[in-house]
Amino acid sequence: MGILEVKGLNKRFGGLQALGDVNLEVQESTCHAIIGPNGAGKSTLLNCLVGKLMPDSGTVMFQGKDVLGCKPHEINQMGISRVFQTPEIFADQTVLENVLIPCFAGRDGSFRMRAFESIGSEVDIISQAEEMLREVGMHKKTDMLAGSLSRGDKRRLEMAMSLVQQPKLLLLDEPTAGMSRADTNNTIGLLKEIRTSRNITMAIIEHDMHVVFSLADVITVLAQGKILVEDIPENIKGHPKVREAYLGDAEV
């Protein structure tokens, strides 16, 4: 049984069937890639998993628990963490504070009033955050305002914020979009290393086939809200249906 099981998911936006009877099973400790042309419904699928959208029908089970209807923070506390397609960070706060917040959320839960303790005395939490920033190569920028970072750095920061939570399932929505080739390779390296060292299950949406084929154990191809194929990377590469779906959108 997979760590995440999606069954019969449907979502309509007006007349548009964004998701049509989507079934997906993510196995524990694997990296599951979801690819497909623009507007295929990939982000919509993630939105249904993290409580941002309510699907019209279907079920989403995470470790045997029903996720649908839960609030985003409850889903996160269950162990699902998400990196957004457009970076969502705390722009008015420093890079370090951005990583401290998920650290506190991990230790103190979704609400806890620690109004008299000083952040400066939370040595463990601070070193945990700094360690994470070192891993993503941002330790020299800890005091910068997050809003002033470059797009690639914002993505890395957001990834650090997710990784520091040690989620059971990490959802990545185009984590390397807007990154340089070198940064992309760094990110691939980081994700590979994280997978082996921390045993985090990943579901990754990506247009960059280099990233997909470097990381994925299983690939699901989505087009117009429907699943076309699901298979191991070797079999996806030359698959006629996939070619058809992309129609030169990307070379597969």
Partner: protein
């Protein structure tokens, strides 16, 4: 020390110094010169300065940190005032129970209003708080007259059933508010030549309360809780997807700022046991918004400065009338004197709101960060000037804590 970092401790000690020496600092001009007009070292005004300081410091916890713009905080101030007077009517003229009950009542009240208002964000939140505050005002003004005294306000009377303490003082008057026997109105006077300085019990009580309130606010700003409140302002979406529930955090901030408002309201009636409905009017709510923005929302010291400037302007400028203006420009030729007086007249006396509006506009346009930003810019200029000759001498490592 005190669990504060060095910079915060310095700031706190500066504020302590200001509060302690305010009777001197606010009375720089000798009595006989015309400039004595600008002295502010008398008890009423000094009390008002620190009490509004408390109000603004509390408001800043909500608005400055979470970004939720409440237009209804005067309601909590009013609730604090009414409950304070009731404690003095029913229990004792000692102000301590009155203050405690003011804070609790305002806290409960803000829990209720905050719970409902925080279901919305942005402008809808602001409008909800405004609507609630206006409802409270109307209730206090008419419907709840038996509790609030309606139009005339709630006052002490000679027939109050005070449990601990007499209904009348020995001289047959209404007894005075006190703290363990020390009357709020009692003052010591120090006359030095042409100067006279007043040290008032009520002022120092309010000052101490403000220092405690300010200290707690500093601690809150530097705490994990404060970090979460800032996160609300920064990005609520990210916050929820990080496993944090923004709602209770915002509500806690709302209630804390409501309690600060209640404390300010309680202190007001401790100084002068009269509570009126106009204290809850939306303009009063707007005033604390102005104070916070003028001083610098989200900064520690800003609200205190903002409150100081506005309260000072209000009481000093509103006492200037045309004869004072004529006095100033006496030495000038008549036509110039009259022109100047005519230009300035609309901005003084009851027109002080015009001055306030102007000051506020200038600050918001040129110094969006308020007075604090102005101070920082000036300090920045000085630092640059100083850094040039001394060059790279040192960047002294500050010892932690």
């Amino acid at each position: 020390m005190l669990g504060l970092k060095k910079a915060d401790l310095r700031l706190f000690l500066i504020v302590v110094g200001l509060v302690v020496f305010a009777p001197f600092l606010l009375n720089p001009f000798p009595e006989s010169v015309g400039m004595a007009q600008f002295n502010a070292g008398y008890p009423d005004l000094m009390q008002k300065l620190v009490i509004f300081g408390i109000f603004a410091v509390g408001y800043n916890i909500l608005f400055g940190l979470t970004g939720y713009l409440s237009f209804g905080h005067a309601a909590f101030l009013g609730v604090g005032s009414y409950s304070g007077v009731w404690m003095m009517k029913l229990l004792t003229m000692n102000v301590i129970p009155a203050l405690i009950v003011s804070v609790i009542a305002a806290g409960l009240f803000s829990l209720l209003i905050g719970y409902v208002s925080l279901r919305r964000t942005g402008i809808y939140f602001s409008i909800l708080t405004l609507a609630f505050a206006q409802m409270c005002y109307s209730l206090a003004y008419s419907v709840l007259t038996p509790i609030t005294g309606g139009e005339t306000g709630l006052t002490l009377s000679l027939s109050d059933p005070r449990i601990l303490g007499a209904a009348q003082a020995a001289d047959g008057n209404i007894p005075a508010a006190h703290i363990f026997g020390l009357g709020m109105g009692e003052s010591a006077e120090l006359v030095l030549g042409d100067w006279s300085f007043t040290f008032n019990v009520g002022y120092y009580l309010s000052g101490i309360v403000m220092l405690v309130a300010f200290y707690l606010a500093i601690r809150l700003f530097r705490s994990p809780f404060g970090l979460m409140l800032r996160a609300i302002k920064s990005n609520q979406t990210r916050m929820s997807y990080t496993g944090l529930n923004p709602r209770p955090y915002a509500l806690a901030a709302f209630v804390i700022s409501g309690m600060y408002a209640g404390l300010a309201g309680g202190l007001m009636v401790a100084m002068d046991p009269l509570a009126g409905a106009e204290r809850m009017l939306w303009t009063a709510s707007g005033e604390v918004v102005l104070m916070t923005i003028l001083g610098g929302a989200g900064t520690l010291i800003g609200p205190i400065l903002g409150a100081g400037v506005i309260v000072y302007l209000e009481s000093i400028i509103s006492t200037i009338n045309s004869s004072v203006l004529h006095g100033w420009f006496n030495a000038l030729p008549d036509w110039l004197e009259n022109t100047l007086v005519n230009i300035m007249y609309p901005f003084v006396g009851s027109g002080w709101h015009l001055t306030l509006g102007l000051v506020f506009m200038l600050v918001v346009i040129f110094l969006p960060g308020g007075i604090v930003e102005g101070g920082k810019r000036i300090a920045g200029v000085f630092k640059r000037n100083r850094a040039e000759p001394s060059g790279d001498i040192k960047k002294s490592a500050e010892p932690g804590e």
